[in-house]
Amino acid sequence: MLALEAQHVRKTYGGVTALADAGLRVRPGTVHALLGENGAGKSTLVKIITGAVRPDAGVLRLEGSDVSFSDTADAARHGVAVVSQELSLFPDLDVLSNMFPMREPKRGPFVNRRRMAELARPILDQLGLRVSLRDRVGELSLAQRQLLEVAKALVTDPRVLILDEPTSALDSSTAEVLLDILRVLRDRQVAVVFVSHILEEVMALCDEVTVLRDGRTVVDAAPLAGLTIPKIVESMLGERHADLTEVRPRATVDLSGAVAAPRGSGVLRVEGVSVDDRLSDVSVTAAPGEVVGLAGVAGAGHQTVLELAAGLRRPTAGTVFLPDGSPAPKGLRAAIGRGVALVTGDRRRLGLMLDKPIWDNAGQVRSVALARDGLLVRKRALRERAGEHASRVNLRTSSLEKSAGLLSGGNQQKVVLMKWLQTQPSVLLLDDPTRGVDIGAKAEMHGLVRSVADAGAVVLMCSTDLDELATLCDRVYVLHHGRVCAELSGETLRQHEILAAMNTGTVPAA
């Protein structure tokens, strides 16, 4: 009998179809990989299985009987547990308290620590987590905390355990630790769903594979034995992507004058740079007018390259040269002063003052942080300049007085871009710039990025969106375990090659 079965699951969010016809069949005592590109519907399916989201249609069965969860607590009562991407531990509490959040065994009104310890100890031993129950969780290593997350899930004695991208930091020991965990889980006859986009891990750890594409199950519980990474990549991307490289975003607006004319060579050069534990001997160049992509699985080091260019991190060996020919300065402030602009996908936290009007946000770097307007900041000047840039980037708003927090995701990111364009940057660094924006806004943003490059700036971009990397970039460096393993451009710059190189460290022979 199947431990978990989902059939013909459909879910739409306001007209956007997240799941069209998704299914998942997981046998007890197996580790089942759930794979798919960004936006394929993995996380929606996980949310439905864990009761966080209700499906529009479809059947969910646990051990043969139909279930319908009202919320996550309901799912947990039915034996579905999740270890999520973001660690959800309380760092200031000890190990034992963390294992029983909100459901401590009680003796009268008091928490029964002895009973808790009796329940917790065997699980920790089984997982090989050698810590004292009194250790503060904040003092544990990342790997230990991940194990504790699993232990916390196992205390509830689940029948289905979902590991939602559990390995964000991929060091060599993590995989071994994971293997150990999974062996324990198999012995306990738990059905494990392993959600990941790191195919190497999948190959090493899983028994069966389900692949989602565009909200549909395209590979249904296939045994791993018959699969290879190239085959999986093929099914994740499908046929439709084969000729998509033709649709390259074009510059949509004229931003000449909005970026600084390059002094010196104008080329951003990363030369033989190493950073402890993160990068070894990485060289990257990006010329004015180019959009250069950086790809890799989480922790592969591609984001570290951005951090180096932004002055957020210092190399332990090698040098980063800004377009004016001098080494990248220490600290973000200095880098900004030298013409570096940084747009992150986390615009609500790092990009915007949500309670402030658009014009105030737009002037934050040039007039406020850099004080380029002199000793006085004139509101009228700020509004005028914001208005000018708003029409250049085609910002859609009823008024510049509107608080940034009330704009749509795409428009918010345009405001972030506006505030950087005011500084006339020579380097634009993008970190997942279209995270969580809809397709139309994404296309517009791509046009703007292309426009910035055409105006003569160096553009360096990290992205988790392979389509974005393949279509927007002129060249893409793929990093694998802290090294550049491939430089793709022209014919070879396709999602297929990027995904394969990210995961294997080599470009498949065409």
């Binding site: 949500l354 007039s367 509101k379 910002l395 009330l406």
Partner: protein
Amino acid sequence: MTSSTTDAPRQDVDPGPGATTGSGPLGVVKRAFGMESTSVLVATVALILVIGAIHPDFLDPRQLRDVLQQSVYVAVLAAGVAFLLAMREIDLSVGATFGLTLICSAMLMRDGWSPWVAVIAGILLGALLGLANALIVQVFRIPAIVATLATLSMFRGLSLALSEGQQVVGLPLDHAFFEFFGGRLFGIPVSVLVLVVVGIVLTFVLRTTPFGYRVRSIGSNPDAAAFSGISIARVRIQALMLMGGLAGLAGMLGLAYFGSGDPNIGSGFELLAIAAAVIGGTALRGGSATVVGAMLGAVLLSVVTSGLVYFDIPVNWSSFATGAVILIAVGIDSLLRRRREARAAAAGL
């Protein structure tokens, strides 16, 4: 402010110069006194009228002048506190800084220093004490509320130790400094005039300088501010030094008026100053501030304490009554503000 703010959302507005109104001299006055600080002004006037209706003596210009005179010190402190709250910081040592600068300047004058030099030294000392606070926060990586809780005791202790717990007397009261700053001009206490000047200058600093914008940026979203290249540490040092300097200035105004130095003067002013800033409309969550509001908040507190004298409240109950009135004032203001904000949010602004 803008004509388009009340319109139904239009698509693709041309955000040209038409979107910028509300400037010009009239607009500046409107903005300085309008908006955030109107409610506290209305509350103050209403309270004066209510007390005056029951006890007409209270409306005597001399009485009102005294009320203003007494509010000056907390008002100057509250203006600085408003800056700090706007960047999500706080300084609990302001009352002690006020007291210490006052005592030190008084002792210097007693020892024969020129009062003018002693006054400059007092203000500089205040700024230095603010710098000390900022460096403690920076070096030990502790929140300002903890650092200044410690320096509150230290500064107060220094006042007591230096003066040996005694009043500092024997100052050259016939000197021009005491005559002018302790006196009146056109019937208005000079210290009140100084307060007005400070209010104008600080409003200008807050609203039109990069420093003022940085303060509000940091309070609005510290992470985004840092990512925009604003040095939070540097702005914090500047803001705490400004706070200290203002405390020093308040100390000098107090010295001019009292003509002697009491080592316990200013005890509890830190809480009054924070209350005044909050009453005035500066939100504790940061991101915005109003200097005029904070000063009016201090006036309101002064009206409350002076007004209570007119009622037969037993002396041991006056603290309780003061607190109750503050609570009512802040409570009503907060409820009204929330309603206004809800309406603004509903309008999509």
